[in-house]
């Protein structure tokens, strides 16, 4: 499957914090859930949640486990660029918003509405 980078985002109305999520992922690695410990995983805490990079299956296993913290309040999507890629880094691009920031900003604002709908569906 190859290497995959994933964004894990927390809905603004969730009680979970990015630090809690990071701790949970680190504990998953140390507990070796679904063989995660043996895989090379890069984790970065961000303002909206976390970025995870590793083998596609491992990353998906992490996302599945993390979702249990708040089933309808944690969202995820793949990301094209690897973590720390200088081509999209604000420091090396001399400032300005990160590519994709405005799209992420709009969709994060809509996540509470998505949660309401998912809660109704059950």
């Amino acid at each position: 499957m190859g290497i995959e980078t994933r964004l894990i985002l927390i809905s603004p109305d969730s009680d979970i914090t990015p630090a809690q999520m990071k701790s949970r992922i680190l504990s998953l690695i140390s507990e070796d859930v679904a063989g995660i410990a043996s895989a090379d995983v890069i984790l970065k805490e961000t303002c909206y949640g976390a970025l995870v990079e590793g083998e596609a299956e491992t990353v998906r296993a992490i996302v599945r486990e993390v979702r249990h913290m708040d089933e309808h309040g944690i969202f995820s999507k793949p990301r094209g660029f690897p973590i720390g890629d200088t081509r999209v880094c604000r420091a090396t691009r001399k400032g300005g918003p990160r590519p994709g920031f405005h799209q992420l900003e709009l969709e994060i604002g809509l996540l509470p509405k998505v949660r309401e709908a998912l809660d109704k569906i059950g």
Binding site: F75, S76, G80, Q103, K113, I121
Partner: protein
């Protein structure tokens, strides 16, 4: 089932498809392959010859270079897709659509392919719940049809 989402990099659509038990066919994976390709110097600014060859299967050579480049990048998603979810009239910040021509043309290509497609209109954040319910119902139907097809093949 492989479900194409459009806008192709939408967080909400990608997440809903994965929640529905399907594989989301999204632009990010295609970009990921391009940026990890050692032959490309400064992706995704460079369009490769392969991208243009793929685009020319669908677009006339007289079309603007921008359209060919965008369609060349999007076409692998279309070829892989077994179903699709389109959120039409979404604001530009909901997900990348390239340019207006590429947007219209790619939606036309999806409809022309004849795969099961759900088109939901974006009517603002307040009415998003209805769209989410429609998408989840569509994905559940796809799962049922997929199971039925598998059991038919076994039988």
């Amino acid at each position: 089932m492989k479900v194409l989402v459009y806008p192709p990099n939408s967080l909400i659509l990608t997440d809903l498809v994965e929640r529905g038990g399907h594989e989301a066919v999204a632009l990010m994976r295609e970009i990921g392959e391009h940026v990890r390709d050692a032959e490309i110097d400064a992706p995704p600014l460079n369009v490769t010859e392969e991208d243009l060859k793929r685009a020319l299967r669908y677009v006339s050579v007289e079309e603007p270079a921008g359209l060919k480049g965008r369609i060349g990048l999007l076409v692998p998603l279309l070829e892989e897709a077994e179903a699709s979810v389109i959120l039409s009239d979404a604001p530009p910040t909901f997900g990348c659509m390239g340019c207006a021509v590429a947007d219209e043309f790619f939606k036309f290509l999806i409809r022309k392919k004849g795969i099961p497609t759900l088109e939901v209109k974006y009517e603002g954040g307040d009415k998003l719940e209805e769209a989410v319910e429609a998408i989840m119902a569509f994905l559940a139907r796809l799962s049922q049809e997929g199971k039925a097809t598998k059991s038919e093949k076994k039988g």
